[in-house]
Symmetry: C2
């Protein structure tokens, strides 16, 4: 369990990076002609978000280069080979990819709210939302080329980003395909979240390795850290959908459950004889009652334990790095992610 | 006017490249899990298409390297610096970008048919169509990194592709914004088609310059060739929407007119006192009658002349290249594009 003091330190670390990422987003994506398109592209970015992926990326850069957290400009960050790299561009790039996927996912899920505001297709329209996502997609690739890293490493980074986008699409397709199906296994679910969510964390964690000049073994370990971190994050997200209230979530509580999405929670319940679809369809049962049934079946605990195992595995991958304050922060961030309340 | 003999030669040149591009598409985009996603990604690609952008790209590679058309494998194509480049990957990449934009545009325009088959969102569903477009987007960036060109040039190529995608989104946003507006100027229209259509031709024409190692002046001239070629292509496309029948088009004749899209034809007519929106809205008037009115106003001739001017300008940009059979084919292709009947 994260100690309160540690949690405060982690939140401060997130917040200071979030502010720098937000400023960089405003610099990289100015609203210009055609203004409706660029306003729509900025809309969800400006609505909030914790910037967890950029935070992982920036802390990892500090852990790799042995930099005391927050003491060096991310725009001219020391690489392992003596040159300087604009690592903030990479952080912005992954956040923009994440945002593009959210805009398109919200269309697919017909969701109306995200981060406490309308989804882009609700606030603007379907056409503009599709285009805003497509625009962010392109900008993310433009921006990752602006790090000033040696050209081989820049090339490797953009290749990594492109493969990640393909994986995210495959993951989302699997997720859509799972809806309403009763035969989704835990393994199939874990494969889906690996692609849909974890690969972007893995890319966020490994991009500093690529761009700052780490060896292949290190890049691979950072990638594995990010995969485990991302799996834990998604499982926690699935839990929060059930347990956090609508105001805290910024979207409807239980929306995944109502939409028939499979999660590690509902699959566990199903495997233990609880017919979740029937419970959800029962007009006599409130959302709280369904959640209590999941709790009684041990499904919430099962998911919490699984998330904790992934956090432990994530932290083990960090041991290849020198023991620095940045590495400690990354480990604490992993704990924080599964103990957060929104 | 293109001579019949020349037209046959051009069509044969398109056809032989089309077949190679189609084979490469099948190799690069195998249908795998999740199969519905990959089938949807392939669906429009497999439905046809002339592969004009890849043809421009491949002919330009031959013109640059002084290769007799069709005599060297595009997978190991001689660069200007002695190394070999897989220029076919670049050709596939631009075709995939084009296809992704068509899939998303068809959603935005709520079109039901394209290339004589259902649009992807009609054949599959909205979610799958959005995702298929997003998947092709990512694959295009993956594939352009596979040319084996020197890493600086590969980096330059992918940056060009990313900026092009941003421009296409901006162009599409302008196009959507023009619908139903009566105050769109010819200049605003030409700016819109430059971004929406011409930049991808410009990129197709200039990528061989970048990847095969041409100097900056040549790359710029190839880009300008592609811009003019693309402008001519789009104006001809707008004309064909009015004059070609539904079967030939593979989509509904006059659909742009009915959707209230502005084109150089309707803007000319409007500027000459014809209220096109009123004509289209008049239940007494057939589509043919509206087209006749546009013809009588001189608007079709105006657009044809403008397209021909762009073709002449495109050909002038080729004069910087050696006079080779490939250069002649490119010039003939430019003529062909404005004289085609579908």
């Amino acid at each position: 369990m994260t100690q309160p003091g540690v949690s405060d330190v982690v939140e401060a670390a997130i917040e200071s990076r979030r502010q720098q990422v937000n400023q960089a987003i405003a610099e990289e994506l100015p609203v210009k002609e055609p203004t409706r398109l660029w306003e729509a592209s900025r809309y969800l970015l400006d609505a909030g978000g914790k910037r967890l992926r950029p935070t992982v990326l920036l802390l990892m850069a500090e852990a790799l280069s042995g930099v005391e957290p927050g003491t060096r400009s991310y725009r001219s960050f020391p690489s392992l080979t003596g040159t300087e790299v604009d690592i903030l561009s990479a952080a912005v790039s992954v956040e923009i990819i994440q945002t593009f996927t959210l805009i398109h996912d919200d269309i697919m899920d017909a969701d109306s709210y995200r981060r406490g505001v309308h989804t882009v297709h609700e606030e603007f329209d379907l056409e503009t939302a599709i285009l805003a996502g497509d625009t962010l997609y392109a900008k993310s690739f433009e921006i990752i080329l602006e790090t000033g890293a040696p050209v081989e490493r820049s090339n490797q980074a953009i290749g990594q980003l492109a493969r990640t986008c393909t994986a995210i699409c495959e993951g989302q397709a699997l997720d859509v395909g799972f809806e309403g199906r009763r035969d989704v296994s835990t393994d199939a679910y874990l494969n889906m979240i690996e692609q849909k969510t974890a690969v972007l964390y893995a890319t966020s964690a490994s991009l500093p390795g690529i761009l700052l000049g780490a060896d292949d073994e290190t890049v691979d370990a950072l990638y594995e850290f990010g995969l485990d971190f991302g799996r834990a994050f998604q499982i926690k997200d699935d839990l929060l959908d059930l347990t956090a209230d609508t105001e805290t979530l910024g979207k409807d509580q239980g929306s995944d459950l109502i939409e028939g999405k499979r999660t590690v929670v509902t699959i566990h319940a199903q495997n233990n004889g609880l017919d979740v679809d029937d419970l959800v369809a029962d007009p006599e049962l409130s959302l709280d009652a369904v959640v209590r049934a999941l709790e009684e079946a041990g499904s919430l605990t099962y998911a919490e334990d699984l998330a904790s195992e992934y956090v432990a595995s994530a932290k083990a991958h960090l041991e290849l790095l020198d023991d620095t304050p940045a590495r400690t922060l990354l480990a604490d961030l992993a704990d924080y992610v599964v103990h957060r309340e929104y």
